[in-house]
């Protein structure tokens, strides 16, 4: 028996919507098997992972806080991946955004600062993320250096830079030698939407970004250009689109969005810089982008799904004593199944019985 694929272009539209759902279902099924192997009651464990994060109002707020960076980053990554630019260093761009934005907050700390501080931090964060993302973009267009490797290597560099800053020059002098910066002033923290809640201004910002990106992709020439360069680079060249400039554009946008996510996370949920500012949002956002079928609205939904696994993982660590790595296993499996289900869209799959000599 072997699998035979036949290319097709006539996959019905409903399948494009159903295939991510099948992928999620298969992930849950595999998760149940994994929990059984670890000696846990599968239903109870899945309940902790996937039901407890959406069970009450407080949990839903936490969900929105976790989904916000994932959505912001994945929308930018979608633009990259659609146009065949493999930016996998969003984690580093996220950290760089936190560093640049955090610098504004630390530099104005205790000084007479006004309402301009917060927008300035957001801008600085976007600038920081975009600046780091431009390195692989420029190296790719100028010297054809593989952007996958360079963007990833810069993740480690950005993380080490942050580590040095919070242990060295930016350490809070009154912080009992803990490796962390001063607490940001009230003006430098993202506005909370509810007096006693966790949800903050970052979530509506993410939704606005999704709407803008969706309009851009569906209604503007730029959106068409991005899709065309990815799907048919030769045709795009004949149409007069500048592939190299587009590479710069999508890297800059995705870097800026990752940086924005970084500074929102730092000033919204932590209130200060710490040696580690991300539980891996930049890498998880890659999965979000694919689960969302590289579509901004899809990223919004997929971001919520992946945020559930983050919170579920934290809950499981407490109540089931499972290592946080189980979350990564779930995320990896989810991407496997998403990619496998995509094959069902692009190809007709048939199982053929091989008769001895047939190759």
């Amino acid at each position: 028996m072997r699998i035979v694929l036949t290319r097709r272009d006539d996959a019905p539209a409903w399948m494009a919507l159903v295939s991510p759902l099948i992928a999620v279902a298969l992930t849950l099924l595999s998760g149940a098997v994994m929990f059984a192997l670890l000696g846990l009651d599968p239903l109870k464990a899945l309940g902790v992972y996937f039901i407890s994060p959406i069970s009450d109002g407080w949990a839903l707020q936490e969900l929105a806080v976790k989904a916000t960076p994932l959505i912001l980053i994945s929308v930018g990554l979608s633009l990259c991946y659609l146009s065949n630019n493999w930016n996998i260093g969003a984690e580093g761009q996220f950290v760089m955004g936190a560093i640049f934005g955090g610098w504004v907050a630390i530099a104005t700390h205790g000084a007479a600062n006004g309402p301009w501080v917060f927008p300035a931090m957001m801008l600085a964060g976007m600038l920081g993320g975009a600046a780091l993302a431009m390195i692989p973009a420029i190296l790719k267009t100028r010297l054809s250096v593989n952007e996958i490797l360079t963007s990833l290597m810069l993740v480690y560099v950005a993380e080490l830079l942050l580590d040095w800053l919070v242990r060295g020059p930016w350490r809070d002098p009154k912080g009992f030698n803990f490796p962390q910066s001063v607490m940001f002033d009230k003006e430098a923290q993202v506005m909370r939407l509810m007096a006693d809640g966790r949800i903050n201004l970052g979530t509506p910002i993410a939704i606005i970004v999704v709407v803008i990106a969706a309009i851009m992709m569906a209604r503007t020439l730029k959106g068409f250009e991005i899709r065309l360069v990815g799907a048919a680079p030769r045709a795009a060249r004949f149409a007069g689109f500048d592939e190299k400039r587009l590479t710069w554009t999508v890297f800059a946008i995705s870097g800026a969005l990752a940086g924005l996510a970084g500074i929102i996370e730092v000033s919204g949920t932590m209130g200060q810089l710490q040696p580690s500012v991300s539980p891996g949002y930049g890498f998880t956002a890659i999965i979000v982008a694919f689960l969302g079928r590289l579509n901004p609205i899809g990223c919004l939904i997929a971001g919520v799904v992946l945020a559930i696994t983050f919170i579920g993982g934290e809950n499981a660590q407490i109540s089931l004593r499972l290592p946080l790595d189980v979350t990564r296993v779930f995320q990896g499996m989810l991407l496997f199944y998403v990619l496998a289900c995509d094959a069902v869209l692009n190809y007709r799959i048939a199982l053929v019985r091989t008769g001895g000599a047939a190759a």
Partner: protein, 305 residues
């Protein structure tokens, strides 16, 4: 042991996992498959190898388990990219994320466990050569295996018909298919070889280099191994040079920290990653932007019927 011997020894120790991982990846890429799951396969090798060695009390059982774990991981990748013609970049990333997670789950009971470093294999007479003797011929079996792999892969690719067929699949899979060669089968074998090597490289980390298990212990070595293949222009001998260059930089950095150089440790730790970028830049600008990569690298193959 003199200072020179000590440095040479540590360079060899740091370079060997990179060399083993990169040579496996080279074969895989020469067949036209880009497997970005190196990091995941390597760390699964490290976790499974250490776990098996602790449970069985035998290092060689650990090595075998590591190779099998790497191959099992690469099989998932093969099913996706060959069986279902999925995007190789995304599938490789998924494999890396999955491997980092699963290795943490498998390794969790073994955190803090310690065992002795694998015994060295002294080659008689040769170890008595002054200066380099002890470092080159008093090594653990992995080091010899890594050199044997480079020679074997070079011989296979350059001197055998099967090697030529494998390269044909990487350069132009449609032509290879038209000539009647089973492209997908050859690529499957190449992927499995790459996975086995990645697992072996991981075993080296947890059985010899440290020797203990800690989550995320590969620390980007899988990715650096991928960069070494690009650096080497897909040639086995240059992989050897590349692996030792990167290993040397890692060690230089450690010795500089030990010698009390007044540079923050984080900057020194970032050096291998920065050098990776720098080396890629130099190598590409010398080639004038010309790619030396196999022409079909990264493109899925679906036979026409």
């Amino acid at each position: 042991m003199t200072m020179f011997e000590a440095i040479l020894l540590t360079i060899i120790t740091a370079s060997t996992p990179l060399l083993i991982g990169a040579i496996g990846q080279l074969v895989c890429e020469r067949s036209g498959v880009l497997n970005l799951g190196m990091e995941g396969m390597m760390i699964m090798g490290a976790a499974c190898g250490f776990a098996a060695a602790i449970l069985s009390g035998n290092s060689y059982v650990g090595v075998l388990a590591a190779i099998l774990a790497g191959m099992a991981m690469s099989l998932i990748f093969a099913v996706l990219t060959l069986g279902l013609a999925a995007n190789q970049v995304a599938s490789g990333l998924a494999l890396s994320i999955f491997g980092l997670g699963l290795s943490g789950v498998i390794g969790a009971p073994f955190v803090g466990a310690k065992r002795d470093q694998m015994a060295k294999l002294d080659l008689p007479v040769l170890t008595d050569i002054p200066l380099i003797g002890k470092a080159l011929f008093g090594q653990d079996p992995f080091v010899y295996a890594s050199f044997a792999l480079v020679i074997g892969v070079w011989w296979f690719l350059a001197r055998t018909k099967s090697g030529l067929v494998l390269r044909a699949c990487g350069e132009n899979h449609a032509s290879a298919h038209a000539l009647g060669y089973p492209v997908l089968k050859i690529r499957l074998l190449a992927i499995l070889f790459g996975g086995g090597c990645a697992g072996l490289a991981g075993a080296y980390l947890s059985l010899v280099y440290t020797p203990f298990w800690s989550p995320g212990m590969t620390a980007g070595r899988g990715w650096i191994a991928l960069a070494i293949v690009v650096f080497a222009s897909w040639l086995p001998w240059r992989v050897l040079a590349g692996a030792y260059l990167f290993g040397g930089i890692t060690i230089l950095q450690l010795h500089a920290q030990g010698a009390g150089v007044k540079i923050p440790s984080q900057f020194m730790a970032a050096l291998p990653y920065l050098v990776t970028i720098l080396v890629l830049v130099i190598i590409m600008s010398r080639r004038g932007g010309q790619q030396a990569a196999p022409a079909s690298l990264g493109t899925p193959f679906v036979p026409d019927r």
